[in-house]
Each structure stands twice: as structure tokens, then as C-alpha cells.
């Protein structure tokens, strides 16, 4: 039971954003995807989550898979309060709505909020929450359907170090509790260290590195060395990316 991606390619305006990407993520494993801005990381997540279609290649999902995504800016519905945001997929999907009574739904929402360390904010609207709280509500909404594939798009971007650590711990905790295959797109080395099992690096749509977190941090090849040392010189040209 794993998520398999085979020879995935996607072009925008005659330019490859993803070029022949193949990878596999096991159950209970977190894959980190790193790379400079515009390297195709978010496009990869959008294709896996079904927002975009690939030009070629194949994605093989595990049987009865449920994909969830935590967005970079949370993407909470600003016209709904926290409770309705988290309950949204259950309320709006016929097959899920039939399964639960109103009190069961309330219990599920409370339970998911508790899993991300939030309680008693059901009536608040997204605009009344801090950035870190919005991220966690976004996580709670993503996991409300008990997904077995969770995608995180820059989960710690723009957060203070302490909140980032908290978010990283929740990524690890949710993976364990749901035994899910997780993919984390990030720029932060702290997130890679704390929340990721294995790493791939994309550059100009191609996979230029894959290995363990230790291999990345040791800088076993010129790509990982340049990324970890944050150097502007190396095989990756950052000008114009």
C-alpha cells in the first residue's frame, strides 16, 4: 500500500514544470520535497491532489485512498466558522453525510481540533485566528475524513520558530495516528530535520536529488550541498527562478 508516481510530466507555456518524475511514498512515511521557488514542488502536490492534470505519466493511489491537502495559506473558507470549515467535507459529501448524526459530527470536529491542539474555537471565523491557528485548523479540516495521503504545502512558511516546531510535531503525530503517506513541500531545513523521513529535490522540473535526511544534510552531492549551504553558486542557477 503505497502512493506511486510514474514518469509524471507537466508543461506550462511550452516549458516543463515537471519532467519525468517518478517516486513512491510508503504508508507511514513522510517524503520531503525541496527546491527553489518555481521548481515544480507545488505543481507536484496539485497534480497528486487532483487540482491539476498531468500532461503525461501516471499516479497509482492505494485502494480506497482519500487525499487531503494542507495549503500554504490554509485556504479556510472565510464565510464559514471553524466548526463549519472542519465539518465541510462531511456535510457537503453525500456519502459521508449519511454516515454521521449531528452529535457524532460535533464529536468528530472536536476530536480533530483536539488533535491539532485547539479547543473551544468552533464559533470563531478564520479572520479571528492567528496564522499558526489557521494552519492547524487547516490541518484539522484536512484530516477530518481520515485520509491515507496527506499533502502539506509549505506548512511552516511565514511562522515563528516556536509555532513552526509545533506544526512539525503535529505533522509527525498525524502521520503516526493515521498511518498516512505524507508529502511535505518545504524550504525550511528545520521542517526537514524534524518531520521528514526521506527527501527529494526538484530543479527546473527534474528530480536532482533523492536520499535520506542525513544524506541531504551531509551534502553528499553538489545539489544537496548547494541547498544546505544556501549558496548562490553551484549547479543550480537561482537567477530568474
Amino acid at each position: 500500500m503505497s502512493l506511486k508516481i510514474k514518469n509524471l510530466s507537466k508543461m506550462f507555456d511550452d516549458k516543463y514544470v515537471l519532467n519525468d518524475i517518478s517516486l513512491e511514498v510508503q504508508n507511514g512515511e513522510t517524503l520531503g520535497v525541496i527546491g527553489f521557488s518555481g521548481s515544480g514542488k507545488s505543481t507536484l502536490l496539485k497534480i497528486i491532489s487532483g487540482i491539476l492534470e498531468a500532461d503525461s505519466g501516471e499516479i497509482i493511489y492505494p485502494k480506497d485512498s482519500e487525499v487531503a491537502m494542507a495549503f500554504q495559506y490554509s485556504a479556510l473558507f472565510d464565510f464559514l466558522n471553524v466548526f463549519d470549515n472542519i465539518a465541510f467535507p462531511i456535510v457537503e459529501r453525500k456519502e459521508l453525510r449519511k454516515k454521521y448524526t449531528k452529535s457524532e459530527l460535533e464529536k468528530i470536529v472536536k476530536e480533530k481540533l483536539k488533535m491539532v491542539g485547539l479547543e473551544g474555537i468552533e464559533e470563531k471565523y478564520p479572520s479571528e485566528l492567528s496564522g499558526g491557528m489557521q494552519k492547524r485548523v487547516g490541518f484539522a479540516r484536512a484530516i477530518v475524513t481520515n485520509p491515507n495521503i496527506i499533502l502539506y504545502d509549505e506548512p511552516t512558511a511565514g511562522l515563528d520558530p516556536v509555532t513552526s516546531t509545533m506544526i512539525e510535531d503535529y505533522i509527525v503525530q498525524l502521520k503516526k495516528e493515521l498511518n498516512a503517506s505524507c508529502i511535505v513541500v518545504t524550504h525550511q531545513l528545520s521542517t526537514i530535520r524534524r518531520a521528514v523521513d526521506r527527501v527529494i529535490m526538484l530543479y527546473q522540473g527534474k528530480m536532482v536529488f533523492q536520499g535520506s535526511v542525513q544524506e541531504l544534510l551531509r551534502g553528499t552531492d553538489e545539489y544537496s550541498r548547494q541547498f544546505v549551504s544556501a549558496s548562490i553558486t553551484g549547479p543550480m542557477n537561482i537567477i530568474g527562478t
Binding site: 496539485k46 487532483g50 479556510l76 473558507f77 457537503e92 479540516r141 475524513t145
Partner: protein
Amino acid sequence: MFELNKTLTYQSLMLLKGEIEDFIATVGNIGVIFVEVVKRIFSFKINFKETIEQSKRFAFDSLPISLTIVGMTSAIIAMQLAPELAKQGGADYTGTLSALVMVRELATIMSGFAIISMVGSSFASELASMAVTEQINAMTVLKVDYISYLIVPRFLAGVVFMPCVFILSAVFGLICAGYVSNWCADLSLLNYYTSLWHGLYLRDIFIALLKASFFGGTIALISCVHGCFTHGGAKEVGLATTKAVVWSFLGIAVWDFIFASFFYL
């Protein structure tokens, strides 16, 4: 100088090409979304809670401005028409002419303008804002069909409630015209309403209701498509709203021409 001209010509052509491509893409998007909306309506994938919510918005938000615009327009027309007809000895025709003008043309087009400015622009900016903050993408990932949730309710609200706004505005406009005729040309209200009755044809009313329904659906669909297909940030949200308003004006003008040609030519 030659190089500059060449560059300017090239840039102008590229700009024109971009505009044409944009136009074709928008028409294509409107067509595709319309087909998807119709499919969902016929397969009964309708979110009733949202449809009621959007219907309230469509009917109540636009009604005060629609009544004001239609009322003022009909009053102004009566103000100019009634004294002139009185001079020619045809004051008794004021009601007939008002009814013909209001029912066949002005009430629908004026309430259409009111709805575009009040509701269409608000649909477009709301959905564009949702699109740029990835809320529509989030719906897709959560396996909630955004067309059923966001567009179908707004489209249905437009199709059903634009005729209601039209009928109320037309009645209000004709009443305003009656009082103004009475004030400007000493035409008695009884004479005005008797004359008005002669200008009211059931066929005209049905055509106007059908036209209003087409206008409502067109405004809702165009506004939703411009909103949902927005990429970028705050600037693009503003542009999407402007485009939705312009395209909606264009849309109802085209429908108006088609209806006039088909039913009155």
C-alpha cells in the same frame, strides 16, 4: 526609428493577439461551465441551502437599486412624454406608450444593470477572492464539486429571481410614470391606468419574463466564471470584477438584440 516602429507594431500585434486569445478563452470557459451547470441541474445535483442563500441575495440586494433606477427612468420618460403628447392631443396614450416601453424594454434592461452592479460584481469579486486564496482548490481536494456548490446556486438564483425583480420594478416604474403624468400633464390617474391597460399585452409580459430569466442566468454565469478562473492577487480580483461587469453588460445587450429580433421583427 525603423526598429522602434517595428517593435511598436510587433508589440501592438502581440497585445491584440493576447486580447483575442483572452476573449476566445473566456467564451470557451463560459460555454464549458454552462454545460456543466445544466448537467448538474438535470441530474439534480443542487445545493438547496446555498440556492436559498444566493436567491435571497439576488432578490433583496438588488431590489432597492432596481426599483430606484426603473422608477426614476420611467418618471423621466413620463415627464418628457406626457406634456408633449398632451400638446398633440394624445395625452391618453401616455399609459399605453409607458407600458410598451417599460415592459418590452426598459424595465428588463434597467433592472439588469442594477443586478450587474449590485449582485454580479459581488459574485465575481467574492469568487475571485476565493480563487486566489485557494479556497476553490481546497473544495476540489475535499472532493466537493465547486460548480454544484458555488455556481449552480447562483445561476438558479439568477434565472428564477431576475424575473421577480423585473416584475416588481416594472410595476413600480409604471406607477411612478402615472403620478408624474398626472403632475406634469394633468392626466388623471384613471385615464392613465385605462390607457396603460391597452398597452399591456400578455405576450409582451411573457417575453419580458423570459428575457429577464435569460439576463439573470447570463449575469450569474458570467460573474461566476470570471470569479472562479482568477489567478494572481488583489489586482487580478479587481480586474476580474471589472471584466465580469463589462461582459455582463455585453451579454444582456446581445440577448436583448436577439429577443427583439426574434419576437418583434
